[in-house]
Protein backbone atom coordinates (compact mmCIF):
# COMPACT_ATOMS: atom_id res chain seq x y z
CA UNK A 1 0.00 0.00 0.00
CA UNK A 2 1.30 3.40 -1.00
CA UNK A 3 -0.05 5.02 2.20
CA UNK A 4 2.06 2.84 4.45
CA UNK A 5 5.21 3.35 2.48
CA UNK A 6 5.09 7.11 2.85
CA UNK A 7 6.30 9.41 5.57
CA UNK A 8 4.27 12.58 5.83
CA UNK A 9 5.61 15.82 7.27
CA UNK A 10 3.91 19.08 8.14
CA UNK A 11 6.00 22.24 8.10
CA UNK A 12 4.49 24.96 10.27
CA UNK A 13 5.94 28.00 8.49
CA UNK A 14 9.19 29.56 7.32
CA UNK A 15 10.24 30.82 10.74
CA UNK A 16 8.73 30.09 14.13
CA UNK A 17 6.84 33.26 15.09
CA UNK A 18 6.07 34.33 11.52
CA UNK A 19 2.51 33.08 12.01
CA UNK A 20 0.27 30.80 9.93
CA UNK A 21 -3.49 30.52 9.48
CA UNK A 22 -4.93 28.16 12.13
CA UNK A 23 -7.04 26.68 9.33
CA UNK A 24 -3.88 25.61 7.43
CA UNK A 25 -2.61 23.70 10.45
CA UNK A 26 -5.98 21.92 10.72
CA UNK A 27 -5.89 21.12 7.01
CA UNK A 28 -2.31 19.83 7.31
CA UNK A 29 -3.19 17.65 10.31
CA UNK A 30 -5.93 15.92 8.29
CA UNK A 31 -3.14 14.20 6.35
CA UNK A 32 -1.92 12.43 9.50
CA UNK A 33 1.67 13.68 9.43
CA UNK A 34 4.34 11.64 11.25
CA UNK A 35 5.68 14.85 12.79
CA UNK A 36 5.41 18.64 12.68
CA UNK A 37 8.61 20.54 12.00
CA UNK A 38 9.57 24.18 12.11
CA UNK A 39 12.77 26.08 11.55
CA UNK A 40 13.18 28.90 14.06
CA UNK A 41 16.43 30.40 12.94
CA UNK A 42 18.45 32.17 10.33
CA UNK A 43 21.64 34.17 9.99
CA UNK A 44 19.84 36.43 7.52
CA UNK A 45 18.78 39.15 9.99
CA UNK A 46 22.47 39.81 10.59
CA UNK A 47 24.93 39.30 13.44
CA UNK A 48 22.95 41.11 16.17
CA UNK A 49 20.87 38.14 17.31
CA UNK A 50 23.75 35.73 17.80
CA UNK A 51 25.71 38.47 19.56
CA UNK A 52 22.98 39.78 21.84
CA UNK A 53 21.42 36.42 22.68
CA UNK A 54 18.05 37.81 21.64
CA UNK A 55 15.44 36.50 19.23
CA UNK A 56 14.28 38.21 16.03
CA UNK A 57 10.76 36.93 16.62
CA UNK A 58 9.25 38.18 19.85
CA UNK A 59 7.96 36.12 22.77
CA UNK A 60 4.24 36.57 22.05
CA UNK A 61 4.71 35.81 18.34
CA UNK A 62 6.56 32.57 19.13
CA UNK A 63 4.07 31.65 21.86
CA UNK A 64 1.11 32.02 19.51
CA UNK A 65 2.67 29.71 16.91
CA UNK A 66 3.90 27.19 19.47
CA UNK A 67 0.58 27.01 21.37
CA UNK A 68 -1.29 25.92 18.26
CA UNK A 69 1.47 23.55 17.16
CA UNK A 70 1.83 21.88 20.57
CA UNK A 71 -1.92 21.47 20.86
CA UNK A 72 -2.04 19.79 17.44
CA UNK A 73 0.99 17.56 17.94
CA UNK A 74 -0.08 16.36 21.41
CA UNK A 75 -3.61 15.63 20.19
CA UNK A 76 -2.22 13.55 17.31
CA UNK A 77 0.48 11.95 19.45
CA UNK A 78 3.27 13.00 17.08
CA UNK A 79 6.52 14.85 17.80
CA UNK A 80 7.01 18.57 17.24
CA UNK A 81 10.53 19.38 16.05
CA UNK A 82 11.99 22.90 16.37
CA UNK A 83 15.40 23.76 14.93
CA UNK A 84 17.67 26.79 15.48
CA UNK A 85 15.72 28.00 18.50
CA UNK A 86 15.38 31.75 19.04
CA UNK A 87 16.93 32.82 15.68
CA UNK A 88 20.56 31.93 16.38
CA UNK A 89 20.35 28.68 18.33
CA UNK A 90 22.84 29.56 21.08
CA UNK A 91 22.24 28.79 24.77
CA UNK A 92 20.26 32.00 25.55
CA UNK A 93 18.16 31.41 22.44
CA UNK A 94 17.43 27.83 23.48
CA UNK A 95 16.38 29.02 26.95
CA UNK A 96 14.13 31.69 25.40
CA UNK A 97 12.08 29.08 23.55
CA UNK A 98 12.25 26.56 26.42
CA UNK A 99 10.70 29.16 28.76
CA UNK A 100 7.87 29.74 26.28
CA UNK A 101 7.25 25.97 26.08
CA UNK A 102 7.16 25.81 29.89
CA UNK A 103 4.66 28.70 29.98
CA UNK A 104 2.41 26.90 27.50
CA UNK A 105 2.66 23.67 29.49
CA UNK A 106 1.59 25.50 32.65
CA UNK A 107 -1.23 27.41 31.00
CA UNK A 108 -2.65 24.37 29.24
CA UNK A 109 -1.92 22.05 32.20
CA UNK A 110 -0.21 19.55 29.93
CA UNK A 111 3.08 17.81 30.49
CA UNK A 112 5.40 16.26 27.99
CA UNK A 113 8.86 14.92 27.31
CA UNK A 114 11.20 17.52 25.89
CA UNK A 115 14.49 16.77 24.13
CA UNK A 116 16.90 19.70 24.17
CA UNK A 117 19.84 19.66 21.77
CA UNK A 118 22.62 22.13 22.52
CA UNK A 119 24.64 23.78 19.77
CA UNK A 120 27.03 26.13 21.55
CA UNK A 121 30.62 25.34 20.59
CA UNK A 122 33.35 25.93 23.16
CA UNK A 123 36.08 28.34 22.13
CA UNK A 124 38.63 25.82 23.40
CA UNK A 125 37.46 23.28 20.82
CA UNK A 126 37.61 25.85 18.01
CA UNK A 127 41.11 26.95 18.97
CA UNK A 128 42.25 23.32 19.08
CA UNK A 129 40.81 22.74 15.61
CA UNK A 130 42.47 25.95 14.42
CA UNK A 131 45.85 24.76 15.67
CA UNK A 132 45.37 21.45 13.90
CA UNK A 133 44.41 23.23 10.68
CA UNK A 134 40.93 21.73 10.67
CA UNK A 135 39.18 25.07 10.07
CA UNK A 136 38.60 26.81 6.77
CA UNK A 137 36.61 29.92 5.81
CA UNK A 138 33.34 29.56 3.89
CA UNK A 139 34.14 31.91 1.05
CA UNK A 140 37.05 34.07 -0.01
CA UNK A 141 35.81 37.25 1.70
CA UNK A 142 35.38 35.56 5.07
CA UNK A 143 38.16 36.93 7.29
CA UNK A 144 40.94 34.63 8.41
CA UNK A 145 40.27 33.15 11.85
CA UNK A 146 42.90 33.42 14.58
CA UNK A 147 42.98 32.30 18.22
CA UNK A 148 42.77 35.98 19.19
CA UNK A 149 39.56 36.49 17.20
CA UNK A 150 38.10 33.31 18.69
CA UNK A 151 38.75 34.78 22.16
CA UNK A 152 37.01 38.02 21.20
CA UNK A 153 33.98 36.22 19.78
CA UNK A 154 30.86 36.75 21.86
CA UNK A 155 29.46 33.32 21.13
CA UNK A 156 30.07 30.49 18.67
CA UNK A 157 27.41 28.05 17.51
CA UNK A 158 27.69 25.05 15.21
CA UNK A 159 25.06 23.90 12.76
CA UNK A 160 24.08 20.36 13.68
CA UNK A 161 23.23 17.82 11.04
CA UNK A 162 20.70 14.98 11.25
CA UNK A 163 22.51 12.74 13.78
CA UNK A 164 21.66 14.68 16.98
CA UNK A 165 18.00 14.81 15.86
CA UNK A 166 17.99 11.05 15.26
CA UNK A 167 19.41 10.53 18.74
CA UNK A 168 16.64 12.75 20.13
CA UNK A 169 13.89 10.97 18.15
CA UNK A 170 15.06 7.61 19.57
CA UNK A 171 14.20 8.87 23.08
CA UNK A 172 10.56 9.30 21.95
CA UNK A 173 10.09 12.91 23.02
CA UNK A 174 6.93 14.96 22.44
CA UNK A 175 9.00 17.99 21.52
CA UNK A 176 12.54 18.29 20.17
CA UNK A 177 13.97 21.76 20.73
CA UNK A 178 17.32 22.17 19.01
CA UNK A 179 19.89 24.93 19.04
CA UNK A 180 21.55 26.02 15.79
CA UNK A 181 20.83 23.39 13.18
CA UNK A 182 21.07 23.03 9.44
CA UNK A 183 17.62 24.08 8.23
CA UNK A 184 17.32 20.73 6.49
CA UNK A 185 18.22 18.58 9.52
CA UNK A 186 14.94 19.46 11.26
CA UNK A 187 12.97 17.78 8.47
CA UNK A 188 15.42 15.26 7.00
CA UNK A 189 16.42 13.44 10.20
CA UNK A 190 13.18 11.48 10.60
CA UNK A 191 12.91 10.03 7.08
CA UNK A 192 16.67 9.28 7.05
CA UNK A 193 16.30 7.51 10.41
CA UNK A 194 13.49 5.44 8.87
CA UNK A 195 15.72 4.41 6.00
CA UNK A 196 14.47 6.73 3.25
CA UNK A 197 16.81 8.01 0.59
CA UNK A 198 18.96 10.83 2.03
CA UNK A 199 19.07 12.78 -1.25
CA UNK A 200 15.28 12.95 -1.42
CA UNK A 201 15.03 13.57 2.34
CA UNK A 202 17.40 16.56 2.24
CA UNK A 203 15.82 18.04 -0.86
CA UNK A 204 12.33 17.71 0.61
CA UNK A 205 13.64 19.25 3.84
CA UNK A 206 15.14 22.17 1.93
CA UNK A 207 11.69 23.01 0.58
CA UNK A 208 9.79 22.39 3.82
CA UNK A 209 12.05 24.55 5.97
CA UNK A 210 10.68 27.68 4.27
CA UNK A 211 7.02 26.93 4.96
CA UNK A 212 4.88 27.77 1.95
CA UNK A 213 7.57 29.85 0.26
CA UNK A 214 7.79 27.33 -2.61
CA UNK A 215 4.06 27.82 -3.19
CA UNK A 216 2.20 30.30 -5.36
CA UNK A 217 1.42 32.78 -3.96
CA UNK A 218 4.57 32.31 -1.89
CA UNK A 219 4.45 32.77 1.87
CA UNK A 220 6.78 32.11 4.80
CA UNK A 221 3.72 32.53 7.04
CA UNK A 222 1.85 29.40 6.04
CA UNK A 223 2.07 25.60 6.33
CA UNK A 224 3.51 23.20 3.74
CA UNK A 225 2.86 19.46 3.52
CA UNK A 226 5.47 17.00 2.34
CA UNK A 227 5.53 13.27 1.84
CA UNK A 228 8.34 10.96 0.91
CA UNK A 229 8.22 7.52 -0.63
CA UNK A 230 10.90 5.14 -1.77
CA UNK A 231 12.00 7.02 -4.89
CA UNK A 232 10.13 10.33 -4.83
CA UNK A 233 8.83 13.09 -2.63
CA UNK A 234 5.83 15.36 -2.98
CA UNK A 235 5.01 18.83 -1.72
CA UNK A 236 1.72 20.64 -1.49
CA UNK A 237 0.68 23.74 0.48
CA UNK A 238 -1.82 22.99 3.27
CA UNK A 239 -3.75 26.13 2.36
CA UNK A 240 -6.08 25.52 -0.60
CA UNK A 241 -5.56 29.05 -1.89
CA UNK A 242 -1.89 28.21 -2.65
CA UNK A 243 -0.41 25.74 -5.09
CA UNK A 244 2.96 24.26 -5.96
CA UNK A 245 4.01 24.18 -9.59
CA UNK A 246 6.93 22.43 -11.27
CA UNK A 247 8.62 25.80 -11.66
CA UNK A 248 7.87 27.10 -8.16
CA UNK A 249 9.38 23.95 -6.62
CA UNK A 250 12.39 23.88 -8.97
CA UNK A 251 12.93 27.60 -8.41
CA UNK A 252 13.04 27.13 -4.65
CA UNK A 253 16.52 25.64 -4.95
CA UNK A 254 17.71 29.08 -6.12
CA UNK A 255 16.48 30.90 -3.03
CA UNK A 256 19.30 32.18 -0.80
CA UNK A 257 21.55 29.52 -2.32
CA UNK A 258 24.93 29.81 -3.96
CA UNK A 259 24.00 27.10 -6.45
CA UNK A 260 20.70 25.61 -7.65
CA UNK A 261 22.49 22.42 -8.71
CA UNK A 262 23.15 21.14 -5.22
CA UNK A 263 24.08 21.95 -1.65
CA UNK A 264 26.39 20.73 1.08
CA UNK A 265 25.28 19.14 4.32
CA UNK A 266 27.55 18.03 7.18
CA UNK A 267 27.07 14.45 5.96
CA UNK A 268 27.72 15.01 2.27
CA UNK A 269 26.58 16.71 -0.94
CA UNK A 270 23.01 16.77 -2.25
CA UNK A 271 23.10 16.75 -6.04
CA UNK A 272 20.01 18.30 -7.62
CA UNK A 273 21.30 18.33 -11.19
CA UNK A 274 19.36 15.20 -12.15
CA UNK A 275 16.05 16.22 -10.57
CA UNK A 276 12.76 15.83 -12.36
CA UNK A 277 9.66 17.77 -11.35
CA UNK A 278 6.16 16.55 -12.22
CA UNK A 279 2.80 18.19 -11.62
CA UNK A 280 0.82 15.49 -9.74
CA UNK A 281 -2.35 17.50 -9.33
CA UNK A 282 -3.33 21.15 -9.50
CA UNK A 283 -1.47 21.93 -6.28
CA UNK A 284 0.96 19.04 -5.75
CA UNK A 285 4.38 18.44 -7.28
CA UNK A 286 6.36 15.20 -7.32
CA UNK A 287 10.15 15.29 -7.36
CA UNK A 288 12.52 12.46 -8.28
CA UNK A 289 16.23 12.18 -8.92
CA UNK A 290 17.74 14.13 -5.97
CA UNK A 291 20.96 12.28 -5.21
CA UNK A 292 23.10 12.14 -2.09
CA UNK A 293 26.87 11.77 -2.22
CA UNK A 294 28.22 11.04 1.27
CA UNK A 295 31.43 12.80 2.27
CA UNK A 296 34.46 10.62 2.67
CA UNK A 297 36.70 11.04 5.64
CA UNK A 298 36.03 13.74 8.18
CA UNK A 299 32.63 15.30 8.87
CA UNK A 300 32.31 19.06 8.92
CA UNK A 301 30.45 21.48 11.17
CA UNK A 302 29.57 24.95 9.96
CA UNK A 303 30.47 27.47 12.67
CA UNK A 304 29.00 30.92 13.18
CA UNK A 305 30.33 33.55 15.52
CA UNK A 306 30.28 37.31 15.97
CA UNK A 307 32.38 40.03 17.60
CA UNK A 308 31.02 43.16 19.22
CA UNK A 309 31.99 46.28 17.28
CA UNK A 310 30.64 48.85 19.74
CA UNK A 311 27.34 50.60 20.28
CA UNK A 312 25.39 52.75 17.90
CA UNK A 313 22.93 55.62 17.96
CA UNK A 314 20.95 56.87 14.98
CA UNK A 315 19.13 60.05 14.06
CA UNK A 316 16.90 60.37 11.03
CA UNK A 317 15.02 63.11 9.27
CA UNK A 318 14.00 64.52 5.92
CA UNK A 319 15.31 67.31 3.72
CA UNK A 320 12.97 69.21 1.38
CA UNK A 321 14.78 72.50 0.67
CA UNK A 322 16.56 72.77 -2.70
CA UNK A 323 19.55 74.64 -1.29
CA UNK A 324 20.19 71.97 1.35
CA UNK A 325 19.75 69.13 -1.15
CA UNK A 326 22.39 70.77 -3.36
CA UNK A 327 24.83 70.71 -0.42
CA UNK A 328 24.54 67.16 0.93
CA UNK A 329 28.18 66.27 0.27
CA UNK A 330 29.28 69.56 1.83
CA UNK A 331 27.10 68.83 4.83
CA UNK A 332 28.64 65.39 5.31
CA UNK A 333 32.16 66.78 5.06
CA UNK A 334 31.49 69.72 7.37
CA UNK A 335 29.71 67.67 10.02
CA UNK A 336 32.40 64.95 9.98
CA UNK A 337 35.21 67.49 10.43
CA UNK A 338 33.48 69.62 13.06
CA UNK A 339 32.35 66.58 15.05
CA UNK A 340 35.94 65.36 15.27
CA UNK A 341 37.06 68.81 16.36
CA UNK A 342 34.48 69.22 19.09
CA UNK A 343 34.15 65.74 20.57
CA UNK A 344 35.64 64.96 23.97
CA UNK A 345 39.24 63.84 23.30
CA UNK A 346 38.67 60.42 24.87
CA UNK A 347 36.10 59.45 22.23
CA UNK A 348 38.40 60.48 19.39
CA UNK A 349 41.32 58.58 20.94
CA UNK A 350 39.27 55.42 21.47
CA UNK A 351 37.90 55.59 17.95
CA UNK A 352 34.38 56.13 16.67
CA UNK A 353 32.54 56.05 13.34
CA UNK A 354 30.11 58.54 11.87
CA UNK A 355 28.09 57.34 8.87
CA UNK A 356 25.68 59.27 6.69
CA UNK A 357 23.08 57.69 4.46
CA UNK A 358 21.01 59.85 2.13
CA UNK A 359 17.87 57.96 1.11
CA UNK A 360 16.50 59.12 -2.21
CA UNK A 361 20.00 59.73 -3.49
CA UNK A 362 22.16 56.63 -2.79
CA UNK A 363 20.99 55.34 0.60
CA UNK A 364 20.77 51.70 -0.51
CA UNK A 365 23.66 51.32 -2.95
CA UNK A 366 26.12 53.95 -1.74
CA UNK A 367 28.92 54.94 -4.09
CA UNK A 368 27.89 52.43 -6.83
CA UNK A 369 24.45 54.05 -7.26
CA UNK A 370 24.17 54.76 -11.02
CA UNK A 371 21.45 57.41 -10.57
CA UNK A 372 23.26 59.38 -7.88
CA UNK A 373 23.19 62.61 -9.92
CA UNK A 374 19.47 62.52 -10.69
CA UNK A 375 17.58 65.64 -9.54
CA UNK A 376 15.92 65.21 -6.15
CA UNK A 377 13.09 67.02 -4.46
CA UNK A 378 13.25 65.25 -1.07
CA UNK A 379 15.96 63.26 0.69
CA UNK A 380 15.95 61.12 3.82
CA UNK A 381 19.00 61.53 6.03
CA UNK A 382 20.19 58.89 8.45
CA UNK A 383 23.06 59.77 10.76
CA UNK A 384 24.67 56.85 12.57
CA UNK A 385 27.32 57.08 15.26
CA UNK A 386 29.28 54.02 16.46
CA UNK A 387 31.45 54.25 19.58
CA UNK A 388 32.80 52.15 22.46
CA UNK A 389 29.83 52.68 24.78
CA UNK A 390 26.21 53.65 24.30
CA UNK A 391 26.79 56.96 26.07
CA UNK A 392 29.64 57.82 23.73
CA UNK A 393 27.63 56.83 20.66
CA UNK A 394 24.78 59.03 21.93
CA UNK A 395 27.28 61.87 22.32
CA UNK A 396 28.72 61.58 18.80
CA UNK A 397 25.24 61.33 17.28
CA UNK A 398 23.86 64.30 19.22
CA UNK A 399 26.77 66.51 18.24
CA UNK A 400 26.66 65.47 14.57
CA UNK A 401 22.87 65.88 14.44
CA UNK A 402 22.96 69.46 15.77
CA UNK A 403 25.84 70.35 13.44
CA UNK A 404 23.88 69.00 10.47
CA UNK A 405 20.72 70.85 11.48
CA UNK A 406 22.48 74.18 11.68
CA UNK A 407 25.18 73.77 8.99
CA UNK A 408 25.53 77.21 7.41
CA UNK A 409 26.70 76.69 3.82
CA UNK A 410 27.25 79.23 1.14
CA UNK A 411 24.03 80.30 -0.56
CA UNK A 412 21.88 78.97 2.28
CA UNK A 413 18.31 80.30 2.26
CA UNK A 414 16.62 77.87 4.64
CA UNK A 415 18.55 79.47 7.45
CA UNK A 416 16.42 78.24 10.35
CA UNK A 417 17.26 74.53 10.02
CA UNK A 418 18.33 71.98 7.40
CA UNK A 419 16.44 68.87 8.53
CA UNK A 420 12.83 67.95 9.33
CA UNK A 421 13.02 65.57 12.29
CA UNK A 422 9.84 63.52 12.59
CA UNK A 423 10.29 62.76 16.28
CA UNK A 424 11.23 64.25 19.60
CA UNK A 425 13.66 62.98 20.70
CA UNK A 426 15.33 62.87 17.32
CA UNK A 427 18.03 60.34 18.29
CA UNK A 428 17.63 56.63 19.03
CA UNK A 429 20.15 54.52 20.92
CA UNK A 430 20.44 51.24 18.99
CA UNK A 431 22.38 49.09 21.44
CA UNK A 432 25.35 46.93 20.61
CA UNK A 433 26.45 46.35 17.03
CA UNK A 434 28.15 43.13 15.94
CA UNK A 435 29.97 41.66 12.97
CA UNK A 436 30.27 38.08 11.72
CA UNK A 437 33.85 36.93 12.23
CA UNK A 438 33.32 33.18 12.26
CA UNK A 439 31.72 31.64 9.21
CA UNK A 440 33.91 28.61 8.85
CA UNK A 441 33.86 24.86 8.42
CA UNK A 442 35.40 22.77 11.18
CA UNK A 443 36.46 19.24 10.37
CA UNK A 444 35.87 16.62 13.02
CA UNK A 445 35.77 12.87 13.43
CA UNK A 446 32.71 12.98 15.64
CA UNK A 447 30.32 15.82 14.80
CA UNK A 448 27.66 14.34 17.09
CA UNK A 449 29.75 14.91 20.22
CA UNK A 450 29.39 18.69 19.81
CA UNK A 451 25.60 18.58 20.11
CA UNK A 452 24.57 16.91 23.39
CA UNK A 453 20.96 15.77 23.73
CA UNK A 454 19.23 16.34 27.07
CA UNK A 455 15.82 14.88 27.97
CA UNK A 456 13.49 16.69 30.37
CA UNK A 457 9.96 16.26 31.65
CA UNK A 458 8.04 19.53 31.37
Amino acid sequence: MKEREEIRILSLNGLLGYGFPAESLKEGMKRSPHFIGVDAGSSDPGPYYLGSGKSLTKKLQVKRDLSLAIEASLAAGIPLVIGSAGTSGGEPHLRFVEEIIKDISKEKSVSFKLALIHAGIEKKAVKKALKEKRIKPLGETVPQLTADIVDKTVRIVGQMGVDPFIKAFRGNPDIILAGRACDTAVFAAYPIMKGYDPGLSYHLAKILECGALAGIPASASDCMCGSIGRDYFEVEPANHSRRCTKISVAAHSLYEQASPFGFYEPEGYVDLSGCDFQQESGRRVRVTGSRFKPCHGLQTIKLEGVVKRGYHTISMGGIRSRDVIENLDNMEKYVSEKTREMLPAVIVEEGYMLNFRFYGRDGVLGSIEPLREKPLHEVGILIEAIARTQEKADTVCALARSLALHFGFEGRKSTAGNIAFPFSPSDFPGGAIYEFCVYHLMETEDAGSFFPVEFKEV
Binding site: S43, D44, P45, G46, P47, Y48, L138, G139, E140, T141, V142, I247, A250, A251, S253, L254, Y255, E256, Q257, A258, S259, P260, F261, C275, F277, R309, G310, H312, M353, N355, R357, G363, V364, L365, G366, S367, I368, E369, P370, L371, I386, I433, Y434, E435, F436, Y439
Partner: protein, 100 residues
Amino acid sequence: MKKMQEKAEVFRSKNAGPFLITIDIMFDTKEEFDDAVKSGVINKKTVSERYELAEEKVDILVFPAALAVKILFPRKISSGAPCDRDVYGAQQAGCLEDFL
Protein backbone atom coordinates in the same frame (compact mmCIF):
# COMPACT_ATOMS: atom_id res chain seq x y z
CA MET B 1 14.22 47.49 -26.29
CA LYS B 2 12.71 46.24 -23.05
CA LYS B 3 14.99 45.78 -20.06
CA MET B 4 15.40 42.40 -18.31
CA GLN B 5 13.72 43.83 -15.24
CA GLU B 6 10.55 44.36 -17.31
CA LYS B 7 10.75 41.04 -19.18
CA ALA B 8 11.51 38.86 -16.17
CA GLU B 9 8.91 37.53 -13.76
CA VAL B 10 11.36 37.64 -10.86
CA PHE B 11 14.26 40.07 -10.56
CA ARG B 12 15.57 39.86 -7.00
CA SER B 13 18.62 39.90 -4.78
CA LYS B 14 19.25 38.22 -1.45
CA ASN B 15 22.02 37.08 0.86
CA ALA B 16 23.37 33.59 0.33
CA GLY B 17 24.94 33.59 3.77
CA PRO B 18 26.35 36.77 5.38
CA PHE B 19 29.23 37.12 2.89
CA LEU B 20 27.60 36.55 -0.50
CA ILE B 21 24.91 38.25 -2.61
CA THR B 22 22.86 36.30 -5.10
CA ILE B 23 20.64 37.79 -7.81
CA ASP B 24 17.97 35.59 -9.39
CA ILE B 25 16.40 36.55 -12.72
CA MET B 26 13.52 34.24 -13.59
CA PHE B 27 11.29 34.11 -16.65
CA ASP B 28 7.73 33.08 -17.23
CA THR B 29 8.20 31.17 -20.49
CA LYS B 30 10.90 29.02 -22.05
CA GLU B 31 11.08 31.44 -25.03
CA GLU B 32 11.77 34.47 -22.84
CA PHE B 33 14.35 32.51 -20.87
CA ASP B 34 16.09 31.21 -24.01
CA ASP B 35 16.09 34.71 -25.54
CA ALA B 36 17.59 36.19 -22.39
CA VAL B 37 20.34 33.58 -22.22
CA LYS B 38 21.13 33.80 -25.95
CA SER B 39 21.26 37.59 -25.90
CA GLY B 40 24.31 37.46 -23.62
CA VAL B 41 23.11 40.64 -21.90
CA ILE B 42 23.58 39.10 -18.47
CA ASN B 43 27.35 38.84 -18.39
CA LYS B 44 30.22 39.05 -15.94
CA LYS B 45 31.62 42.25 -17.42
CA THR B 46 28.43 44.28 -16.91
CA VAL B 47 27.89 42.92 -13.42
CA SER B 48 31.48 43.51 -12.32
CA GLU B 49 31.37 47.09 -13.64
CA ARG B 50 28.13 47.97 -11.89
CA TYR B 51 29.19 46.54 -8.51
CA GLU B 52 32.80 47.66 -8.93
CA LEU B 53 34.23 44.17 -8.55
CA ALA B 54 36.89 42.22 -10.40
CA GLU B 55 35.30 40.12 -13.14
CA GLU B 56 36.59 36.86 -11.66
CA LYS B 57 34.63 37.52 -8.46
CA VAL B 58 31.35 37.28 -10.36
CA ASP B 59 29.66 33.96 -11.09
CA ILE B 60 26.74 33.46 -13.44
CA LEU B 61 24.76 30.20 -13.48
CA VAL B 62 22.03 29.24 -15.93
CA PHE B 63 19.31 27.00 -14.43
CA PRO B 64 16.85 25.84 -17.13
CA ALA B 65 14.62 23.80 -14.72
CA ALA B 66 13.41 27.07 -13.17
CA LEU B 67 13.89 29.24 -16.30
CA ALA B 68 16.37 31.20 -14.21
CA VAL B 69 19.75 32.90 -14.36
CA LYS B 70 21.67 33.31 -11.12
CA ILE B 71 24.34 35.91 -10.47
CA LEU B 72 26.67 35.62 -7.47
CA PHE B 73 29.28 37.93 -6.03
CA PRO B 74 30.90 38.52 -2.64
CA ARG B 75 29.80 41.35 -0.38
CA LYS B 76 32.30 44.12 0.33
CA ILE B 77 30.89 44.45 3.85
CA SER B 78 29.35 41.42 5.56
CA SER B 79 25.66 41.48 6.46
CA GLY B 80 24.88 43.83 9.34
CA ALA B 81 28.50 44.86 9.99
CA PRO B 82 29.26 48.58 10.50
CA CYS B 83 28.66 50.53 7.22
CA ASP B 84 26.53 47.79 5.64
CA ARG B 85 23.48 49.23 3.90
CA ASP B 86 21.39 46.12 3.26
CA VAL B 87 21.34 43.45 5.97
CA TYR B 88 19.23 40.95 3.97
CA GLY B 89 20.83 41.93 0.67
CA ALA B 90 17.28 42.27 -0.63
CA GLN B 91 17.67 45.56 -2.56
CA GLN B 92 20.92 45.09 -4.44
CA ALA B 93 19.44 44.08 -7.81
CA GLY B 94 18.24 47.64 -8.50
CA CYS B 95 21.80 48.56 -9.42
CA LEU B 96 21.44 46.45 -12.59
CA GLU B 97 17.92 47.50 -13.65
CA ASP B 98 19.03 50.01 -16.26
CA PHE B 99 21.97 47.98 -17.54
CA LEU B 100 20.55 44.55 -18.46
